[in-house]
């Protein structure tokens, strides 16, 4: 909760202004019945018109003041609440930017989106409610009680009875219902999960003709939610009548006693009306307080979910005195062990020890899950090793400034993504200052120029969200061009030409050899043809190095390599091209 409130920052002023102005508004409101008492006693009862005019005018003036205070308080409340939610979103987004890959893996994108929209909206509404009401209610309570005491100390006992009655009744209802509400929320999550399941698996449902079965399942879950909600809200239904009992109790007892006091001469008729007003506002503020409690506890779940992201610490941090230059493109793995879940005992990479010279072209091949992607992800420090070390240019990657390292080690990820914007915009992710010529040159090397040229607006063509208006192969080529623009010392292609036909694949590799001979190139591929021309080929199996040699030697000696090679020769190779 504190973490969330810290995000108020520049809106603290608005918050306090709102609270202060609300307090002023409440004071005005509290004084109103007091003035009405004067109007009645000294004006009406005494048939004194000037008093009525004077205090009537005072009342109108106070109402205007109260209106101004209230309006300003409302304005500040709106600005504070919307500011808080904007800051929260920004803080979460900023924190996500510091996340490492393993942090990102932990939260799902829909989960993060819900946190940044629905949850924050909940908190925003609760916050606004709290700063407007949480001040008003107790102040009202205290002032009203004080005014009652001033008017008639004898009667305050009655109010005390009413207040104690309400506190006990509403309090116990709250305690019980909040407990039930917590279950209700859990059921809600279950219900949503089941909707989600049906939305994503609708083809399975339809293929097996299970619509009725799913309907029944959903009805049951929905009925359970209904039963619990009715139980919780059924209890809440006591709130209003309890409040009425308290009010009526006060009206009757006050009527009885006040009649005697007035006749006895210790109270006036005006006191009677203001007493009634104060009773109402006293009890109303109790109701408001109970509402605030409900609001806060309902938004508690959202607060918790938001804090989870805010508290998530990036597990990769820059060293204190980082190395700012990368000497060359040599890469060394020194007995590296790595697992995605630290200490799970299931290593994704075990005892990797390999040394790559600057400017070499290395092919990496192996089955799914053999650790190819994990291996290259360590080079640009997308994850940290568990044991051993990875060095680029002779320096441990953990000693570099991350930005420097990643600018020199350019990865084309397996699951690659283009963003909405023009082709040039996307290319300039690689280098914001790249000229159009440089972009075109990079696209030529990546064999992307040919299809971009054919597009109606060429390099200014807009890419739709997720690159949905270009084909898989075109997307991959654009991603390669984007990575080339970094002019890196190490270029890693993680299965990045799988959707590109063999001929283009070959000409991209030829362009690499010609244009960036000094860059170390690591190519992960499924096709032997993509890697056979490499200086050396790394064969991975189950997270271990099985062999590291030239195509010719591997073909002679390595069983796995032979198997893959033969299978692709014989045609049990992949017919389809993974998207």
């Amino acid at each position: 909760m504190r973490k969330v409130l810290q995000q108020l920052k520049q809106y603290k002023r608005d918050t306090f202004l709102c609270i202060g102005l609300t307090a002023l508004e409440v004071i005005m409101e509290i004084l109103m019945p007091f003035v009405t008492a004067i109007i009645i006693d000294r004006g009406l009862e005494a048939s004194n018109l000037p008093v009525v005019y004077r205090y009537g005018a005072l009342m109108v003036g106070m109402a205007f003041l109260s209106l101004i205070f209230g309006a300003l308080a409302g304005k500040n409340a709106a600005s504070a609440a919307s500011g808080l939610s904007a800051n929260l979103r920004e803080a979460i987004y900023a924190n996500i930017q510091t996340f490492s890959f393993s942090n990102i893996d932990k939260f799902s994108v829909p989960g993060l989106v819900t946190r940044m929209t629905t949850d924050i909206t909940n908190v925003q509404n609760a916050f606004m409610m709290v700063i407007r009401v949480a001040v008003r209610a107790p102040l009202n309570l205290i002032f009203s009680f004080a005014m009652c005491l001033i008017i008639s100390p004898h009667l305050s006992g009655m109010f005390l009875i009413a207040v104690v009655f309400l506190v006990i009744v509403i309090g116990s209802i709250m305690v019980v219902t909040l407990k039930i509400f917590r279950q209700v929320f859990r059921r809600y999550d279950d219900l949503n999960a089941s909707v989600q399941e049906n939305v994503t698996a609708i083809r399975v449902v339809k293929a097996f003709v299970r619509e009725d079965y799913e309907n029944l399942k959903f009805s049951k879950a929905s009925k359970m939610l209904y039963d619990l909600s009715v139980k919780a809200e059924g209890l809440l239904a006591f709130n209003n009548p309890a409040m009425m009992v308290a009010v009526y109790f006060c009206i009757i007892s006050v009527s009885w006693l006040v009649a005697q006091f007035i006749v006895g001469g210790s109270l006036t008729t005006g006191d009677l009306t203001s007493l009634f007003s104060y009773i109402m506002s006293l009890l109303m503020s109790l109701m408001m307080l109970s509402m605030v409690v409900v609001m806060i506890s309902m938004s508690m779940a959202s607060i918790r979910r938001i804090s989870e992201v805010l508290n998530e610490k990036a597990d990769l941090t820059d060293p204190e005195d980082p190395v700012m230059t990368v000497a060359d493109g040599s890469i060394d793995f020194n007995h590296v062990n790595f697992s995605y879940k630290h200490g799970s005992g299931k290593n994704s990479l075990s005892d990797i020890d390999l040394h790559i010279k600057s400017g070499e072209t290395i092919g990496v091949i192996g089955g799914t899950g053999s650790g190819k992607s994990s291996l290259v992800n360590l080079i640009c420090r997308l994850y940290d090793v568990d044991e051993g070390s990875v060095c680029v240019g002779g320096v441990d990657v953990r000693k570099y400034d991350t930005e420097v390292l990643r600018n020199q080690v350019s990865v084309v990820l397996q699951k690659n993504i283009l963003f909405s914007g023009t082709i040039l915009d996307n290319l300039r992710w690689g280098n914001p200052d790249a000229t159009e010529e440089e972009c075109i040159e990079a696209c030529k090397a990546a064999c992307a120029d040919e299809f971009i040229d054919r597009m109606p607006q060429g390099y200014e063509t807009r890419i739709e969200r997720g690159g949905s208006n270009v084909s898989g192969g075109q997307k991959q080529r654009l991603c390669i061009a984007r990575a080339l623009l970094k002019k890196p010392k190490v270029l890693i292609l993680d299965d990045s030409t799988s959707a590109v036909d063999t001929a283009t694949d070959a000409s991209i590799r030829a362009a690499f050899a010609k244009q960036i001979p000094g860059t170390t190139k690591i190519i992960i591929a499924q096709r032997v043809s993509s890697v056979e021309a490499s200086d050396r080929i790394l064969v991975l199996d189950d997270g271990r190095i099985d062999a590291f040699d030239t195509h010719e030697n591997l073909l002679k000696s390595n069983v796995i390599y032979q198997e893959i090679y033969n299978s692709q020769l014989e045609g049990s190779g992949d017919f389809d091209q993974p998207a």
Binding site: T36, I39, F64, A71, E211
Partner: protein, 632 residues
């Protein structure tokens, strides 16, 4: 000119909002007509008792205090009797209040229950196309965000508004009876308040709409950027992303601020106009009372200021509800949008029934489950019914298909599958392989041509029966929350445990299931997140196996399976295929080698067809792909 246009627009928006709200209310009344009537009666009783309570000070002052003060009498017995009577009336009021609060819980929660169930039922009946064209997050948010806005409307706003209106009416009547002159002031105030409320809620409503749009923009931005967050990291693009985010976020903050600012103004304005009206009534009342005009007594004024408060308070309260109502209208729009979607049409009349075959080979319908299935084909013209054995023969005759009318993705597809044959489709992603299989089970309807199943046009077969006769293992495996056993049983709900285990054995899944912590009783959650892709695939095969359909569609997974599991999956599929008409979408050529016919697809057309040997001999595309021998 443009102002007028805007006004018209917002007016029509106001109208649709009213229409939506009234539709919600009609929906509620459909289920809870009498209960809701009871609620209104209780509210009425409660309002009357409230007014009685509010007028009591007049009785107190005029009938007791003033005479007593004048006479100096100390006899309170009359007052005591009156108070007891009042207490009884109030008790009735409390009971009525409790009754309507409590009944309303059932009404509102019950309406929500029906609404959710109806929504879900409608959703299940929608064609696949709907799910293709709507973001899943959007559909989800109907259940979470939108239905929730209606809860507020039903459980709070509607009773509150009814209560307020009735209280106002009752108070108004009392006021008129008490003193028509003073009533005018109250009515004038009420008009001012109503004007303020309607104007400000229009203003804030405009910004609420903008807020929803901006919220959508933020939502979209986050989704796109977080989807590509790994790319953002690799390119050290964090700062630029922050800057872009700041822009959309700032826009949202702005519209939220404005929407709430105007909404927040309502309460202070209305409450204080209420006080001003209080002062006016007091002043005018005093003038009249002191001058003895219009029959005003001090007691009248004292009561009247109180009544005036109960008359204006409801307006303040209703104005607090306006936001919820506006919000609910937006929610209702989306809820009804989903509710009004056209369900999948099914004009089929041919049914799948259990059958018996007598010694002459004639089929008759059987009431009990037999191993024999037949198509029951009523002929309306002749009024006869014929039975035809379910065998699993599928014919596609010159089929064209497009997901949208203007873009045909499958052209002139013809194929003939004899019962028991294995037909394979090969080709690159996007060539249309999966689409063909989706036409056979009528996930989509064809644009042109005919598909026949056992000689019957599939458009004549009831969709559920058609789909029941076709087993499917889909490319993306989806599992449901529940035990492993539950998931296998999904294929045939009345399958015994033994049948399920048998199916798992057939699919090669038994081995890994037994190694799971609770074996067949292991709970699966989150789409089987605790299983590997290969294991999920095996379960999906077992699920299809237990259904034991005469025809099968197997869409192999493209990736993420290691070579060892792949062999297991392959073996499972092979076992399942035995003796069934099978359509295989294959990615590894070794799978399709033994097919009766292989269709090579490219861009929505079958470019080559034949057995493996035929195709190799033809030296076409298949040959190239198979030998890896590309003509450069």
């Amino acid at each position: 000119m443009s102002d007028k246009m805007n006004e018209k627009k917002s007016e029509s928006r106001g109208n649709t909002a009213m229409k939506l709200i009234s539709r919600v209310i009609r929906y509620m009344l459909h289920y809870y007509k009498y209960l809701f009537l009871l609620v209104i009666v209780c509210i009425l009783i409660n309002a009357v008792t409230t007014v009685v309570g509010a007028t009591f000070p007049q009785t107190l002052v005029d009938d007791y205090i003033t005479p007593m003060l004048a006479s100096g009498s100390r006899d309170f017995s009359g007052l005591a009797a009156d108070l007891v009577r009042l207490a009884c009336i109030m008790a009735v009021g409390v009971v009525a209040a409790f009754a309507y609060n409590r009944i309303m819980v059932n009404v509102s929660q019950g309406t929500m229950l029906h609404l959710r169930d109806d929504l879900f039922r409608r959703m299940e009946s929608l064609p696949i196309k709907y799910f293709d064209t709507h973001a899943h997050g959007d559909i989800m948010s109907v259940y979470t965000n939108d239905v929730d806005t209606l809860r507020q409307l039903l459980s709070q706003s509607i009773p509150q508004i009814i209560n307020s209106v009735i209280t106002m009416a009752a108070t108004l009547v009392t006021m008129i009876v008490l003193n028509p002159a003073l009533t005018v002031i109250s009515i004038l105030t009420a008009v001012v308040m109503l004007l303020v409320t309607s104007n400000f809620s229009k203003l804030s409503g405009r910004y609420y709409i903008r807020q929803q749009i901006d919220l959508g923009a933020v939502d979209g931005f986050i989704e796109e950027m977080l989807d590509g967050q790994k790319v953002v990291k690799v390119f050290c693009h964090e700062e630029a992303a922050m800057k872009d985010f700041h822009e959309v976020n700032e826009r949202l903050r702005n519209s939220t601020n404005k929407a709430n600012r105007y909404a927040n103004l309502l309460m202070p304005i209305n409450a204080n106009v209420g006080w001003i009206s209080y002062a006016l009534v007091a002043i005018v009342g005093a003038i009249l009372g002191i001058n003895g005009l219009a029959g005003v007594t001090i007691g009248t004024v004292v009561t009247f200021v109180g009544l005036n408060k109960s008359f204006t308070n409801p307006i303040t309260q209703v104005s607090q509800q306006i936001n919820f109502v506006v919000n609910a209208a937006a929610g209702a729009q989306r809820v009804f949008d989903l509710m009004d979607q056209e369900p999948e049409v099914d004009d089929g009349y041919v049914e799948l029934v259990n059958a018996k075959e007598d010694e002459n080979g004639n089929l008759t319908e059987s009431p009990v489950r037999t191993d024999l299935w037949a198509w029951k084909h009523p002929h309306k013209a002749e009024g006869t019914v014929t039975y035809r054995k379910l065998e699993g023969g599928v014919v596609l005759d010159d089929v064209d298909f497009g997901y949208t009318d203007d873009k045909i993705v499958l052209h002139n597809i013809s194929l003939y599958a004899e019962p028991g044959q294995k037909i394979a489709f090969v080709g690159a992603t996007g060539a249309g392989k999966t689409t063909i299989t989706n036409l056979i089970n009528r996930f989509y309807d064809i644009a042109d041509g005919k598909i026949r199943y056992d000689g019957i046009n599939i458009n004549k077969i009831k969709k559920p029966d058609l789909r029941r006769s076709l087993g499917m293992v889909l490319q993306d495996t989806h599992l449901f929350t529940g035990t492993v056993m539950d998931n296998i049983r999904y294929g045939k709900l009345d399958a015994t445990d033994e049948e399920c285990i048998e199916a798992a054995k057939l699919a090669n899944a038994d081995g890994f299931i037994r190694r799971l912590p609770d074996g067949y009783n292991t709970m699966l959650t989150g789409d089987g997140a605790n299983l590997s892709q290969g294991q999920r695939q095996l379960l999906a095969i077992a699920r299809a196996a237990v259904a034991d359909p005469p025809a099968l569609i197997l869409d192999e997974a493209t990736s993420s399976i290691d070579t060892r599991t792949e062999k297991l999956v392959q073996a499972g599929m092979d076992a399942l295929m035995k003796g069934r008409t099978t359509f295989v979408i294959a990615h590894r050529l070794s799978t399709v080698k033994n097919s009766d016919c292989i269709m090579v697809m490219e861009q929505g057309r079958i470019i080559e067809r034949g057995t493996h040997d035929d195709l190799i001999a033809a030296k076409g595309k298949y040959y190239q792909l198979y030998t890896g021998n590309f003509a450069d």
